[in-house]
C-alpha cells in the first residue's frame, strides 16, 4: 500500500510538473524556434512526445487495449491521477504509444486539414504547417486518445463539445483555442522574427494547453451549449 501511495504521489507531481515542463521546453528553445521554425519543431517533437507519453501513462486513466470493450459505455473516472496502478504500468506505456501512433497517423492529417481550412498556408511553408499540426495533435490529441481510445460516440462528443469538462479535455480545447488566438499578432507591422509562421501559433498551442488544463479543472463537469 505504501508503494501505491508513493506512486500516486509521483503521479501527482508529474501532473503538476507536466505543463511547466512543456512550457519550459518551448521557452528554452524559443530562439531557435524563431530562427528556423521547421527544424526546431522537428527537434522539439520527440521531446514533447516523450513528455506526453510519461504524463499519459502515469497520470491518466485509460481504456486502452482490450479493456475498452468492458469499460465502454460505463461511467469511467478517467482523469484522476490516483488511478495510476503499478500493475498497469506496462500496459499504460503500451497504450500511450498506441495513442501516439493514432495521434500521428490520424490526428496530424486531421489537424492539418482543419488549420488549413482556417487559413494556414499550404503553397508556401508546407512543412511549417505540417509540423504545427503534429504538435497540436500530440498535445491535444494524444491524451484524448489515451483517455477515450477510439470510441466513435465519444469522439463525436469531443468534437461537438458535448463532453463534460475535465483536465484532459480542457487542455485539448485550450490548445485549439490557443492556436486560433495565436494568429492575432501576425499581421502587425512590427516586423519581428517571432511573427514568422507558425511561431505564434505554436506558442498559442502550448500556452493554451497549459491554461486549458487549469480551466478544465475549474469548470469540471460543465458542458457547453451552442444553440
Amino acid at each position: 500500500m505504501a508503494s501505491m501511495a508513493d506512486r500516486s504521489g509521483i503521479a501527482e507531481n508529474i501532473r503538476h510538473a507536466h505543463p511547466i515542463v512543456l512550457l519550459g521546453a518551448l521557452y528554452a528553445t524559443f530562439t531557435s524556434l524563431v530562427n528556423d521554425p521547421p527544424t526546431l519543431l522537428l527537434q522539439l517533437l520527440p521531446v514533447t512526445i516523450g513528455i506526453q507519453i510519461i504524463h499519459a501513462s502515469t497520470c491518466l486513466g485509460n481504456s486502452g487495449g482490450s479493456k475498452v470493450a468492458t469499460a465502454s459505455g460505463n461511467k469511467k473516472k478517467a482523469k484522476s491521477a490516483s488511478k495510476a496502478k503499478s500493475e498497469d504500468m506496462g500496459s499504460n506505456v503500451l497504450a500511450a504509444f498506441f495513442s501516439l501512433f493514432l495521434a500521428l497517423l490520424i490526428g496530424t492529417p486531421a489537424a492539418f486539414i482543419v488549420i488549413v481550412l482556417l487559413g494556414a498556408p499550404i503553397t508556401a511553408d508546407l512543412s511549417h504547417t505540417v509540423l504545427c499540426a503534429a504538435h497540436l495533435s500530440v498535445l491535444a490529441g494524444l491524451p484524448l486518445v489515451y483517455s477515450y481510445y477510439v470510441q466513435g460516440l465519444k469522439w463525436r462528443d469531443i468534437v461537438s463539445l458535448n463532453l463534460p469538462m475535465d483536465e484532459v479535455y480542457g487542455g485539448a480545447l485550450g490548445a485549439c483555442l490557443g492556436a486560433w488566438l495565436g494568429a492575432v499578432p501576425i499581421p502587425l507591422d512590427w516586423d519581428r522574427d517571432w511573427q514568422r509562421w507558425p511561431v505564434t501559433i505554436v506558442v498559442g498551442i502550448y500556452a493554451g494547453y497549459a491554461v486549458g488544463r487549469l480551466g478544465g479543472l475549474a469548470l469540471i463537469g460543465k458542458v457547453a451549449r451552442f444553440n
Binding site: V116, L117, V159, L161, P187, D189, A224, R225
Partner: protein, 842 residues
C-alpha cells in the same frame, strides 16, 4: 423588459441620425481647408524697390502631362519612350523623378504642380465629386494665372479637370472627361488632333496637354498590360512631334517643353496611396537651350531604389522652377524649392537673386503662420537665441550679409529648405473641439443602441450576445493599430473562420452531420485566397492572378457555372405552378445579356482573360457598343423587378424575397470584375447552406455582419484609396452623371456586402414569423456594430491625428468607414432592406 415597438422605431431612427451627424461633424473637423494667401504675387513682392528680377530664359511653354506616368515608364529599361531617352542622352533633356505626396490622385496633384502647395486630403473627396466648385484654383496663385497676368495666352487640350480648376483662363480648349476609364484611344486622339495645328500657330504662349489613356490602361489592366508599351510609343511620338517643332519653328524658339506625370501607379495599376510606385512620377524638361547646362545622363538609367531614377525632387518644386525660368513671380502659396540644376543658365548675380527670391517667398508663408517671424527678420542681425525661428532668421541675416556669392547661395538654399521643413511638417490645425463634439454625439448614438441589449434584451442565448460584443469591441480596439487597419481583411477572415467552427459545433450538437459548416469553411478558404489585398501582400500571387489569368478557360468555366447557378435560382423563384415555362423564359434573358456584356468587355479591355475559343464570339458581340449592352442588362433587370412588384399578389410572399435576391445577384455580377463573379456564386451557395441551418435572428445577424466584411475584402478591396475599383463605374453610362457613376462605383466595390445584406434578409424571412420585429432586431444589431465601429475610427483619428500615418492609413480608413456607415449601413442595410421587408411582409 418589453419596449414598445413605436419606441424602438424611434430609437432606431434617432440613433442612426445621430450617428450620421457625428460622422459629418467629425469629417468637417478632420479634413479642414488649409488657409492660404489670397491674390497673385507681383515681382515687387519679392524685390526691393528698383531691383529687377532674374531675366526669363523662356518665353513659351508646352506642358505635356501624361496621367500616371511612373518614372520607370520613361527612364527604365523596357520603356517605350525611346526618343525621349535619346534627348536625355544628348543633354537637351533634364530628367528627374518627381515625388508626388499622398493622396496620389489627379486633381490634388495638378494643384501641387501648378501652385507649388501640397494639397490636403479634402481635395481627394472633391476629386471624386468633381462638380464641386470650391475646388477651383481661381483664387489661388499658380503659374497659369501668372502667365495670364503677364498678358500672355494659354490653350489647353485633354482632361477637363483643368477647365474646372482654371475657369476662364484658356483661350482655346477641348476638354475630355477623365472618368471613362474603359476608353484607351479616343480620349488621347482627342488631344493629339490639336497638337499639329496648334504647333503651327504662333498666337499662344502656353499649351497644356493632358493625356489620360495611360492611366486608364493602368486602372483596367495594370502596369504590365499589353497596351502599355504601345501607349508609351504613342506618347513618345507626341514628344518627338513637339520637340522637333521647337527645334525647327522660329516662333517656338524660346519654348520650354515639360513632360510630366501627375502620379505613378502601384503594381495593380491603382493610385491614391503612398507606395513608392504611386509617388514616383516622371519629370523631363526639354529645350535645345538646355544643352548649355552640359549635363551628362545615361538613358535608360539604373534606378537608385525601385522607382528613383536620376535626382529625386518634390513635385511642388516644379512651380517655382517654371515661373523662374519664364521670368514670372513665384506663386504665393508655393512650398517648393527652385531646382538648382538650372542655375547655370544665369550669371552669378542672378543666381543669388533667384535663391533669395525663393527664400523671401517662403518666409512670407512662415510669417503668415508665425507672426513673430517678421519682427525677427526686421532685426537685421542674429539675436543669439536658440529658438527654431530665431535660428532660421539668423540664417537669413547671415545670407544677406555674406560677401561671398557662393556662400550666399548656400545659405539661401539652407534657409529655403528649413522653411519648407517647417511649413510641411507643421501639423494641420485640426478643429479638436468639433472632433470632440462629434465623438460625444457618436457615443450617445452607441449608448442608445446599447440599451437594446441592456434594457430590452435581444432575443437569443447569452453566448451569442457575448460573441457579438466580443466581435464589436475587438474590431473597435483594432482601429487604433495602423497595421490592423491596413490588413483589416485578416481580422475578418480570422473571425469568419472562427464563426464557421462555432456553426460546425452547433450543427453537431443538433445531431446533424456537420457537412454544411465544413463546406462553408471550404468556400471561405477559397474566398479569402481569391484576391490578395491589404498593404503588405497586395499583388502577391493569389487565385485570380496568376492562376485564373493564366488559365482563362478555367475562369470562363467558373463564370459560366456561376451564371448557370444564377439562372436556375432565378427560374425557380420566378416560375409559377401553372406555367413553369414562364420562369425559364424570363430568367434566361438577363443572364444571356449579362454574359454577352462581360464577354464584350473582356474583348475590349482584358483580352488576356479570353480563351482562344471565345475570342471570335467575343469580337463579334463587342461590335455592339458596350454602353448599349449594359443598358439592355439593366433594363431587363428593372423590367423583371417591376413585374415582380406589380404581380406581387400573384406570387406567394415567401417567393418574392428570393426572387429579388436573384435579380440583384445578376446586377452585382454585371457590376463585378470578371474574375470576381465566381465569388458571388460561392456566396450564394453559402447562403443556401445557412438557410437550412435554422439560425436565430441573432445568429443570422452575426453571420451577415461577418460575411459582409469578409466578402468586401475578398473581392479585392482594402482600406486604401488605390483599391477602389473604377472598371465597372461606367457600365451603361453614355453621358457623365455624378450620381449614376457614384452609385455604380459603390455597387461594384460593395458587391459582396450588398449581396450578403440581401442574403441575410432572405435568411430572416425563411426562419421567422413577425416581420416588423424581425427587421427591428436585425436593424438594431447592425446599428450597434456600426456605431461602435464608427466611434472607434473617430477616436483613432482624433488620438492619432499627429501620427505619421494619419494621411496614409487613418484618413483613408475614415473615408471607407464613412461609406460603410452612411451608404452601406443607412441606405442598404436600413432603408433598402426595410423596403424589402415591407414588400415581403405585405
Amino acid at each position: 423588459m418589453v419596449v414598445q415597438p413605436s419606441l424602438r422605431w424611434l430609437r432606431l431612427a434617432a440613433g442612426n441620425i445621430l450617428l450620421v451627424l457625428a460622422v459629418l461633424v467629425f469629417a468637417k473637423a478632420f479634413f479642414p481647408y488649409k488657409p492660404f494667401l489670397q491674390g497673385l504675387a507681383q515681382h515687387a513682392d519679392y524685390h526691393d524697390g528698383g531691383e529687377t528680377p532674374a531675366p526669363a530664359q523662356f518665353e513659351k511653354i508646352v506642358f505635356m502631362l501624361v496621367d500616371a506616368l511612373r518614372s520607370d515608364f520613361v527612364f527604365g529599361d523596357h520603356s517605350g519612350f525611346e526618343y525621349t531617352q535619346s534627348l536625355i542622352r544628348s543633354g537637351v533633356a533634364i530628367p528627374f523623378t518627381a515625388h508626388a505626396t499622398s493622396p496620389t490622385i489627379t486633381m490634388p496633384k495638378i494643384k501641387a504642380l501648378t501652385t507649388g502647395s501640397i494639397p490636403g486630403f479634402l481635395d481627394l473627396i472633391l476629386n471624386f465629386a468633381e462638380s464641386d466648385t470650391t475646388s477651383t484654383l481661381a483664387t489661388q496663385d499658380n503659374w497659369l494665372a501668372q502667365i495670364k497676368q503677364s498678358g500672355k495666352k494659354l490653350i489647353m487640350f485633354g482632361d477637363d479637370t483643368w477647365l474646372k480648376l482654371f475657369p476662364n483662363i484658356f483661350e482655346r480648349t477641348d476638354g475630355t472627361v477623365s472618368f471613362f476609364v474603359s476608353d484607351f484611344t479616343e480620349v488621347d486622339n482627342n488631344v493629339t488632333r490639336h497638337v499639329a495645328p496648334e504647333l503651327r500657330q504662333s498666337d499662344w504662349d502656353a499649351m497644356i496637354l493632358h493625356y489620360l489613356g495611360l492611366d486608364h490602361i493602368g486602372h483596367k489592366t495594370g502596369p504590365r498590360s499589353q497596351h502599355m508599351i504601345p501607349k508609351q510609343h504613342e506618347m513618345d511620338g507626341i514628344v518627338k512631334q513637339v520637340y522637333q517643332a521647337i527645334e525647327t519653328s522660329d516662333h517656338l524658339r524660346d519654348t520650354l517643353f515639360v513632360l510630366v506625370g501627375d502620379h505613378g501607379m502601384n503594381d495593380g495599376g491603382g493610385h491614391g496611396g503612398s507606395s513608392s510606385g504611386e509617388t514616383s512620377a516622371a519629370l523631363v524638361f526639354m529645350s535645345p537651350k538646355l544643352k548649355a547646362l552640359q549635363s551628362e545622363y545615361t538613358a535608360p538609367a539604373v534606378p537608385r531604389d525601385e522607382f528613383t531614377y536620376y535626382r529625386r525632387i518634390e513635385q511642388s518644386d516644379v512651380a517655382p522652377t517654371l515661373t523662374t525660368l519664364l521670368g514670372l513671380p513665384i506663386p504665393k502659396n508655393n512650398l517648393g524649392l527652385f531646382i538648382q540644376d538650372f542655375l547655370p543658365l544665369w550669371n552669378v548675380d542672378d543666381q543669388v537673386k533667384i535663391l533669395n527670391t525663393n527664400g523671401r517667398e517662403l518666409s512670407r508663408l512662415i510669417s503668415a503662420s508665425y507672426s513673430d517671424f517678421d519682427k525677427l527678420l526686421a532685426e537685421g542681425k542674429c539675436n543669439q537665441k536658440t529658438g527654431q525661428l530665431d535660428k532660421l532668421a539668423c540664417t537669413w541675416h547671415s545670407a544677406v550679409l555674406s560677401p561671398q556669392p557662393s556662400e550666399q547661395m548656400n545659405l539661401f538654399s539652407t534657409f529655403s529648405g528649413e522653411c519648407q521643413d517647417i511649413l510641411t511638417s507643421a501639423a494641420t490645425n485640426y478643429d479638436t473641439d468639433s472632433m470632440l463634439i462629434a465623438i460625444i454625439i457618436g457615443s450617445v448614438s452607441l449608448l442608445l443602441f446599447t440599451t437594446v441589449w441592456a434594457v430590452d434584451g435581444v432575443p437569443g442565448s447569452g453566448f451569442y450576445k457575448l460573441l457579438f460584443w466580443a466581435l464589436s469591441l475587438s474590431y473597435s480596439g483594432m482601429m487604433i493599430a495602423s497595421s490592423y487597419v491596413e490588413e483589416e481583411q485578416q481580422y475578418w477572415y480570422w473571425a469568419a473562420s472562427g464563426w464557421c467552427i462555432i456553426l460546425l459545433i452547433r450543427e453537431l450538437q443538433r445531431n446533424e452531420s456537420g457537412s454544411k459548416s465544413i463546406i462553408l469553411l471550404l468556400l471561405l478558404r477559397l474566398t479569402r485566397r481569391w484576391n490578395q489585398t491589404g498593404q503588405k501582400h497586395a499583388g502577391a500571387p493569389d487565385i485570380t492572378n496568376p492562376f485564373l489569368t493564366n488559365n482563362p478557360t478555367i475562369l470562363w468555366t467558373l463564370v459560366f457555372f456561376s451564371y448557370t447557378d444564377m439562372f436556375f435560382r432565378l427560374k425557380r423563384s420566378l416560375s409559377t405552378r401553372s406555367s413553369p415555362i414562364v420562369g425559364s423564359v424570363m430568367a434566361i434573358s438577363p443572364i444571356v445579356a449579362s454574359i454577352l456584356f462581360k464577354l464584350s468587355m473582356a474583348a475590349l479591355d482584358t483580352r488576356e482573360l479570353l480563351p482562344q475559343f471565345l475570342t471570335p464570339l467575343a469580337d463579334n458581340f463587342s461590335k455592339i457598343p458596350p454602353v448599349t449592352q449594359a443598358q439592355i442588362v439593366f433594363s431587363l433587370l428593372l423590367l423583371q423587378t417591376t413585374y415582380l412588384l406589380l404581380s406581387h399578389h400573384l406570387t406567394p410572399s415567401k417567393k418574392i424575397i428570393p426572387a429579388l435576391h436573384n435579380i440583384l445577384t445578376i446586377f452585382l455580377a454585371t457590376q463585378s470584375r470578371l474574375t470576381n463573379i465566381p465569388l458571388l456564386w460561392f456566396s450564394n451557395v453559402s447562403l443556401t447552406l445557412l438557410d437550412s441551418m435554422s439560425l436565430t435572428p441573432l445568429q443570422i445577424s452575426l453571420t451577415t455582419l461577418t460575411l459582409q466584411h469578409t466578402t468586401f475584402f475578398a473581392l479585392g478591396n482594402s482600406n486604401a484609396i488605390s483599391s477602389v475599383d473604377l472598371s465597372n463605374a461606367y457600365n451603361g453610362v453614355s453621358t457623365f452623371n455624378v450620381f449614376v457613376v457614384g452609385v455604380l462605383t459603390f455597387v461594384s466595390n460593395w458587391a459582396g456586402p450588398i449581396l450578403h445584406t440581401s442574403g441575410g434578409i432572405s435568411l430572416l424571412f425563411n426562419n421567422l414569423g413577425s416581420v416588423g420585429n424581425t427587421y427591428l432586431t436585425y436593424a438594431e444589431i447592425s446599428s450597434t456594430f456600426r456605431a461602435a465601429a464608427m466611434l472607434a475610427v473617430m477616436v483613432a483619428c482624433m488620438v492619432l491625428r499627429t501620427h505619421l500615418f494619419v494621411w496614409t492609413v487613418f484618413s483613408p480608413k475614415y473615408l471607407f468607414a464613412m461609406m460603410w456607415t452612411c451608404v452601406h449601413h443607412v441606405i442598404v442595410d436600413l432603408v433598402v432592406a426595410g423596403g424589402v421587408f415591407y414588400i415581403g411582409g405585405r
